[in-house]
């Protein structure tokens, strides 16, 4: 058995199904997904548009309720959680990173992170989180004064500042050029390595799979196959 599997299971996914719409308009976005995700793992989800990656991420992040199947976060059953429990779960355990950064435009970098550390259980100082993503010098800039890559790194700092158990990233480099994208990936990789955070990363870009512990291929709402990298490639060595 590979080493990763001995680590603690954080998400246990069995027969997870998500159906949108009704009747003939029905779409099975997830069609019976079985999956375990472990502590400290860096997992890349690959697949074409509509293959179900984002839907899975939404279920993992407590943004959506599955139609059927089992979804356990440690001992918590997310399929039957209340709105309040889901909010608690997101607040304490999940860090989100979006393709379009989603910073609050009226808050500076430091404040965007501070907004979250204010409500988190055991946060690191906002400044520390921003240092980790290499933005120690741009603490008091507003989003409009930052480049796309910088904005995404603020978003990463915001996500990791609360020391979450899970980092969920939906195409975090999708809106960035290669060079900036690599800087962002480095920040993510560092957070995963230093904080031991389970990191799930969605991408269209097969090259990025090289930096993962495990690569899961999606198609038609199911796990098509998965592979393990013997060695995680450093982001700087990637090229696309």
């Amino acid at each position: 058995m590979p080493a990763a599997d001995r680590r603690e299971v954080i998400f246990r996914v069995r027969g997870l199904t998500k159906v949108y719409g009704e009747g003939t308009a029905q779409v099975r976005a997830l069609d019976g997904v079985d999956l375990d995700l472990h502590e400290g793992e860096l997992v890349v989800l690959l697949g074409q548009s509509g293959s179900g990656k984002t839907t899975l991420l939404n279920q993992l992040g407590g943004l959506d309720i599955p139609t059927a199947g089992e979804l356990l976060y440690r001992d918590t059953d997310l399929t039957h959680a209340t709105e309040h429990q889901l909010t608690e779960f997101r607040r304490d355990s999940v860090g989100f990173i979006f393709q379009f950064y989603n910073l609050i435009p009226s808050l500076t970098a430091r404040e965007n992170v501070g907004l979250i550390t204010e409500i988190a259980r055991d946060p690191m100082p906002a400044e520390t989180a921003l240092e980790m993503v290499g933005l120690g010098a741009r603490l008091d800039h507003f989003p409009a004064q930052l480049s796309g890559g910088e904005q995404q790194r603020v978003a990463i700092a915001r996500a990791i500042a609360k020391r979450p158990e899970v980092l969920l990233c939906d195409e975090p480099t999708g809106a960035l050029d290669v060079r900036t994208g690599i800087v962002v990936l480095e920040a993510l990789e560092r957070a995963n390595r230093e904080l031991g955070t389970l990191t799930v990363l969605i991408t269209h870009n097969a090259v990025m799979a090289e930096m993962a512990d495990r690569v899961i291929y999606f198609s038609d709402g199911r796990v098509h196959h998965e592979r393990r990298n013997a060695v995680r490639a450093a982001p700087a060595t990637l090229n696309w």
Partner: protein, 788 residues
């Protein structure tokens, strides 16, 4: 068949229906006021004009003591006089069954045969007096209604001291008494004061006036000038105790209707302006938001060849739909309000047939003004959108620029929570939107100040009039000047605890070319009943010579304390004297002049004479007193303070209740609408931001707080501003309502202010709650998608 662009319009409207409705409602408030006020002006003016014309209302009036009927020939010969009519007007007291307190009024004479030429009556019920009738009377409608009198009932009257029962033949209205009240009273008291009509012969016989008249009414030939005719009349009537002729514009009943029209005119201009400005801004905010959302759609439309003009037209249509809805609502509201106010007018004004008449022009004006206001409001942003090059418009708008808010730049940053920062920075970034939300909320607050201040002012007038100035329990008026010995007789009546004699004389006061005709009243040195009080509320002890004038009268004449006025008596031997203006008195109803009793008698040169008395009464012996008073024939009028007070209170409560509820409704609509609009726009513009906050773990309550903090800041700015605005607006409106007949003091109370604050806060809170419920429907997944 709708074009596809119009179909898009309908769907956009459906999506924004809440905000569109808020805009239409605020607009409707202003337009309702406009339509109501203009239509009421139209109703009053046209009804009055028709009434005057149909019933031959005179144009010049002259009261006098007594003149022989043949003098009328001389008057008809004055160039410019078309018709002259003489008749009699005499005071009367009445015994009403079941009511111990006496009523009084005036009896007017009618020709013994045929209809009068001028000031014809309108028969509401019953029948006219048959030619040569005796023992029958026509009763004015206000008095008949207040006392439930019907044709066929009998009425006991004291005519020149003789008690006699009269049969009520009919209930009538007169163009001379559209506003039927005791001379000089601010409000009608129809229960104890009425007007009656009897044949000339009957009145003249009872008063020994046969062959004479004491009232003159004229109409003028077309194009004739009123001024020289009045001068000539005064000259002719002087030997006959002429009390000064006056034109229609000084006719007491005419003035009251004109005053009301003036108030309506102010309402019809001021209110719509304010409401429509707020509505125009709200439209601007809704459309700007819609345009920002639809940048790409606009770009695509342009890319496919739609002209700028058709795009501008498309979005203007959106605004126009809101205006048309606003006008329709305003029309319904204005008509409903107008109909209610017309019913309220029946408390004050007696017309044969006063109906609400919709002023068609007002609806057209409302539509025009509404369209104009929103076009101004949205034209700029619509144009800007249309001018965007298609390629530019297809890119999403760049991220908004922010900077630390002013309050943070002051170094207070550390004190601010994150949600507070988000709120203040957002407000600073959109100062116009913040400004108009503040303006709207302030307007709502301000609206609530007026009715309560009005009410407090009226109470102040009543309290002042009856607790400070006139402290007696009742006023007696004598049929004619009598010897002061009568006072001793009255003093012995049962229940009288104190009595002070009073003298009243018609005079004209001249100062530097200006003059006013007025009743000069006596004050008693050391008197406890009637007093004159200065602006600080201190009693002015009556000087042994000279006069005291109402501050308002002094202003009208342009005189100040120390000036010498010319006092011309209009009765008795008609003496003229130069007197010093000694002090200015504060009073709220009418204009008055006072003189010390003995000084007044010296001036009139008739010896120790009184025309009435003020009485302090042991109220437990009131019935006994009034019964005894009936045996004294020379008493013409009795006015009991408590009764008048009660009646005023009822009348004001009825009219103020309606006005208050109208203002309350408007204020709630504006507060609710403005907050709703602001919060919905914030919610829509920042849906992504707010969804992100939810995704990263904030609760609904915490996300709601971000929006609420913004609203609270706006409200904190708006409410004090609104109180200030309300104070100003109220000062302006009450100031413009004030005339020589009524002046309402400005009485701002803590209650008035607190009431406004509480209502606005409740309305805003409810509105915010409605919007915050939308946070439940916030699509969290939207945060993960590309920005719109």
């Amino acid at each position: 068949m709708l074009s596809h662009l119009d179909r898009k319009l309908l769907r956009d409207l459906r999506r924004l229906k809440g905000q569109a409705a808020a805009v239409s409602l605020v607009m409707a408030c202003g337009l309702a006021m406009l339509i109501m006020a203009r239509s009421l002006i139209h109703s009053l003016e046209s009804t009055r004009a028709e009434y005057y014309q149909t019933n031959h209302f005179a144009e010049v009036f002259a009261p006098l003591k007594r003149a022989p009927n043949h003098l009328a020939e001389q008057i008809r010969a004055i160039p410019g006089v078309a018709t002259a009519q003489t008749d009699l007007s005499v005071p009367v007291t009445l015994d009403l069954p079941g009511i111990t307190e006496p009523a009084s009024g005036a009896v007017r004479s009618l020709p013994d045969f045929g209809e009068p030429e001028l000031n014809r009556l309108f028969l509401r019920r019953g029948r006219w007096l048959p030619p040569g009738s005796r023992g029958e009377v026509l009763v004015g409608e206000a008095f008949a209604k207040a006392n439930a009198l019907n044709p066929g009932d009998t009425l006991t009257m004291l005519l020149n001291g003789r008690r006699q029962a009269f049969l009520i033949a009919g209930i009538v209205l007169s163009p001379e008494y559209i506003f039927e009240s005791r001379p000089g009273a601010a409000l009608p008291d129809s229960r104890t004061y009425g007007i009656f009509w009897m044949p000339y012969k009957e009145v003249a016989t009872a008063w020994d006036l046969y062959g004479a008249f004491n009232r003159l009414s004229l109409t003028l030939a077309p194009g004739a000038n009123e001024r020289p005719i009045i001068v000539e009349l005064d000259r002719l009537l002087r030997p006959y105790g002429g009390l000064g002729a006056f034109g229609r514009k000084d006719h007491p009943s005419h003035i009251r209707v004109t005053d009301e029209i003036r108030v309506l005119t102010i309402l019809s201009i001021g209110f719509p302006i304010v409401f429509l400005s707020v509505a125009a801004f709200m439209t601007n905010a809704v459309l700007t938001r819609l345009l920002a959302l639809q940048r790409e759609q606009i770009a695509i439309l342009k890319a496919f060849g739609f002209t700028n003009r058709s795009i501008v037209a498309h979005y203007l249509k959106f605004a126009f739909v809101m205006v048309i809805a606003g006008v329709m609502l305003g029309l319904i509201g204005g008509m409903a309000l107008g109909t209610k106010l017309v019913m309220m007018y029946e408390l004050f004004f007696k017309f044969p047939d006063l109906h609400f008449r919709l002023d068609g022009h007002a609806v057209a004006i409302a539509l025009g003004v509404g369209l104009g206001a929103v076009t101004l409001g949205v034209l700029d942003s619509v144009h800007r959108a249309a001018r965007l090059p298609p390629a530019d418009a297809m890119r999403p708008e760049p991220p908004a620029h922010f900077r630390p808010a002013f309050i943070e730049r002051l170094g207070l940053a550390r004190l601010l929570s994150h949600s507070f920062r988000i709120a203040v920075r957002n407000l600073e970034r959109r100062p116009t939107q913040a400004f108009f939300t503040v303006a709207g909320l302030a307007l709502a607050t301000a609206l609530l100040i007026l009715p309560n201040t009005f009410k407090a002012g009226i109470h102040e007038v009543l309290d002042f009039q009856w607790d400070v100035v006139q402290r007696q329990d009742l006023n007696l008026g004598l049929v004619e000047p009598s010897s002061a010995r009568l006072a001793h007789e009255l003093e012995k009546l049962p229940g009288v605890t104190s009595l002070e004699p009073s003298r009243f004389a018609a005079v004209r006061i001249h100062f530097q070319g200006r003059s006013r005709q007025i009743g000069l009243r006596s004050l008693l040195a050391g008197g406890l009943h009637a007093r004159a009080v200065d602006h600080a509320g201190r009693e002015i002890s009556p000087p042994t010579d000279g006069v005291i004038l109402s501050a308002k009268l002094a202003t009208v004449l342009g005189a100040k304390v120390g000036d010498t006025l010319l006092l011309e008596a209009l009765e008795g031997r008609r003496p003229v004297a130069a007197v010093k203006l000694r002090a200015l008195a504060e009073d709220f109803t009418g204009i008055a002049a006072y003189m010390e009793l003995h000084a007044l008698n010296r001036f009139l040169g008739e010896g120790d004479v009184i025309t009435g008395a003020t009485i302090g009464l042991d109220m437990s012996r009131r019935t006994e007193f009034l019964a005894a008073l009936r045996e004294i024939p020379r008493v013409a009028t009795v006015a009991i303070k408590e009764t008048m007070r009660q009646s005023f209170r009822e009348t004001t409560a009825k009219s103020m209740g309606l006005i208050q509820s109208v203002y309350l409704t408007f204020a709630v609509i504006v507060a609710f609408g403005v907050i709703y609009n602001n919060a919905r726009i914030s919610l829509a513009e920042r849906a992504r931001e707010l969804a992100t906050l939810r995704v990263v773990g904030m609760t609904q309550r915490e996300v709601g707080a971000v929006l609420v903090v913004e609203l609270v800041i706006l409200a904190l700015l708006a409410v004090p501003l609104g109180l200030l605005m309300g104070t100003g607006l109220t000062t302006l409106i009450i100031g413009s309502v004030n005339t020589e007949t009524v002046r309402i003091p400005l009485v701002f109370t803590t209650y008035t202010y607190s009431f406004a604050v509480v209502v606005v806060i409740i309305a805003s809170t409810l509105s915010a709650l409605v919007v915050l419920r939308k946070l439940n429907q916030l699509d969290l997944l939207a945060a993960l998608k590309a920005p719109e």
